[in-house]
Symmetry: C2
């Protein structure tokens, strides 16, 4: 038995629409510890674009199939696999980048994880990057208690919205910073509906007396995906001995790190990268607990489905051309739908 | 019985030479838990100048006696004091800033610590700021083993020299960064005599292949007292998951904190302030162990006596005028000598 798989692939780094091609491949039956998967959906993430451009710190050996996230269904399993069975729904995880932009794949049974079938295809396809990033940043850096305050910039980014929702679940207050824009009132309203406690533009944060007056406790954790003056502005609001975690740099500017932040306010600045976390913790109790918890929250609608556009794999040029290499703030997330 | 003490004092913040005055005071016998001390020596530190200017984050209530470091001899003790006796040599510690620029003081017995009489007056007077800073930065941030590499800028500062000597004691290699200057070869030679493994100018560090080539292991700890591009340069050399500790900002410039430092290289940036450490740990086992160890190293000449000038308290205007508010790199440390 063999299966014909359609897959996107590339053999040199460059402009995504130029270097990516579609081809067919014959897949053999899974070996002892392998599984054959029919992919259901896989998103196009900004990190995929940077990887295709050859600008990502970890470069795949070429040729390669792009895509680091997705959901599939097990079709058949190797003789030694007892953790999965045909019909199981699985999430591809990001540590072993085997390329999710394909209709079928044969991979090691340990490189995918079973998820509940109640999860929507879109939620399952997009749960391993942004929700996991938000989850770990809120769990692993500062021990937070109900009522504690978290501040973040880029609050309307895909990850920022999950931060708002997770904080609501855990009872943390959020101070959400966004850039001013024509429809700012609508944006503020949308984020508050998600559960945001406060939403401010950068200018409003510069001028606010909310912390000085004691109306709002100073944040104990800052999440920075913008950098530059915006990151500096977050750091200035923090409580003594707090932590700022950087996970992006949409402004492409470094944050001015004033000595007083560290010497007098005893801040700690750290970073988070979900790919690296998965590399180090895949299959660990924390990973499995998070997978189950995030699945549950998605099923309960406590975490929202990202704004997205489902396209067939043949529409890959549109998907690549319309996905920014930065954290796509306003753009729609393209998701390959392999079901048709 | 009463003692006439000469003391420097100030009742408003401003230019040190203008606001500081000398006056006499009658001291009474020490109460139950107090001790009467004859001060032997007390240095003028850059932090004292900033405090006098009113620019230090923690401001004393005025009027106050300046000085946060010094050595004295116990003259008499209160009825309940059994930890100290007349003739004991004590170091004033920095947590309770009772003002060391005076010939005599009455203070709580818990606010001074006994030190060996073998310590020279100058070493004893200057052991609690710079040696303690170097000691804690090497102990408390990264677990280091023999052969590990520490990188620092401002390596010829008072604290930087103690870092070199302590690393030699503990078997750590040091990469020492200094600014280029006319007598650079002489400076390099001096630091190597102290125990520096490598000494480079900032330009040399930009160009060096020592880490890339694998000749020298990447540093696991960076100590930054300069800031700006110099701090950035340190961060660029670090091993994955290392820590940079900022304890000064001689350049008065913030360090550009690139997102990649945190996201891809998993660096941690923190700060150290010896006054705060003493406030939190005074009298703790770590403090007492450090006091004894630093005393021993000074007695054995494994830590050097700083370049200094002893002056009588009446020469305070000269001492104040010649002490920079920054970390005084090249200047002599003024020390009030109360023994004559």
């Amino acid at each position: 038995m063999s299966v014909v798989s359609q897959k996107l692939f590339y053999s040199e780094f460059g402009e995504p629409v130029k270097v990516v091609r579609l081809e067919e491949e014959n897949l053999q039956v899974p070996k002892t510890n392998e599984v054959l998967i029919r992919m259901l959906a896989a998103p196009v993430n900004p990190a995929d674009i940077i990887t295709l451009q050859g600008l990502y710190p970890t470069k795949p050996s070429l040729p390669a199939v792009p895509g680091n996230e997705g959901v599939g269904e097990v079709l058949s399993v190797g003789s030694a696999v007892d953790s999965l069975k045909p019909g199981d729904r699985v999430t591809a995880q990001t540590a072993i980048n085997w390329g999710t932009w394909r209709t079928h794949a044969v991979c090691d049974a340990g490189h995918v994880y079973k998820i509940p079938k109640e999860l929507s295809i879109v939620d399952a396809a997009t749960m391993s990057v942004n929700p996991y990033t938000a989850y770990r940043m809120l769990k692993d850096f500062v021990p937070l208690s109900e009522g504690d305050v978290v501040i973040q910039n880029g609050a309307n980014s895909a990850c920022g919205q999950y931060v708002i929702e997770l904080c609501k679940v855990w009872g943390y207050h959020t101070v959400n910073v966004v850039r001013d824009r024509p429809n700012i009132d609508e944006l503020k309203e949308n984020l508050k509906e998600l559960g945001a406690t406060y939403v401010l533009t950068e200018d409003e944060l510069w001028e606010t007396e909310m912390f000085k007056s004691g109306k709002v406790a100073r944040p104990r954790l800052a999440l920075n995906c913008v950098g530059g003056a915006s990151g500096e502005l977050l750091a200035r609001q923090l409580e003594y001995s707090s932590t700022m975690v950087t996970y992006g740099a949409m402004s492409k500017q470094p944050v001015p790190a004033h000595a007083a932040f560290f010497i007098y306010n005893n801040l700690t600045w750290r970073g988070f990268w979900v790919s690296e976390w998965m590399k180090q913790h895949t299959g660990s109790p924390q990973h499995l607990q998070m997978k189950d918890h995030v699945s549950q929250l998605l099923i309960e609608r406590k975490l929202s489905t990202p704004v997205h556009k489902l396209v067939p794999i043949t529409a890959y040029k549109e998907a690549l051309a319309n996905t920014s290499s930065g954290t796509a703030l306003k753009s729609v997330k393209y998701i390959f739908n392999f079901q048709n």
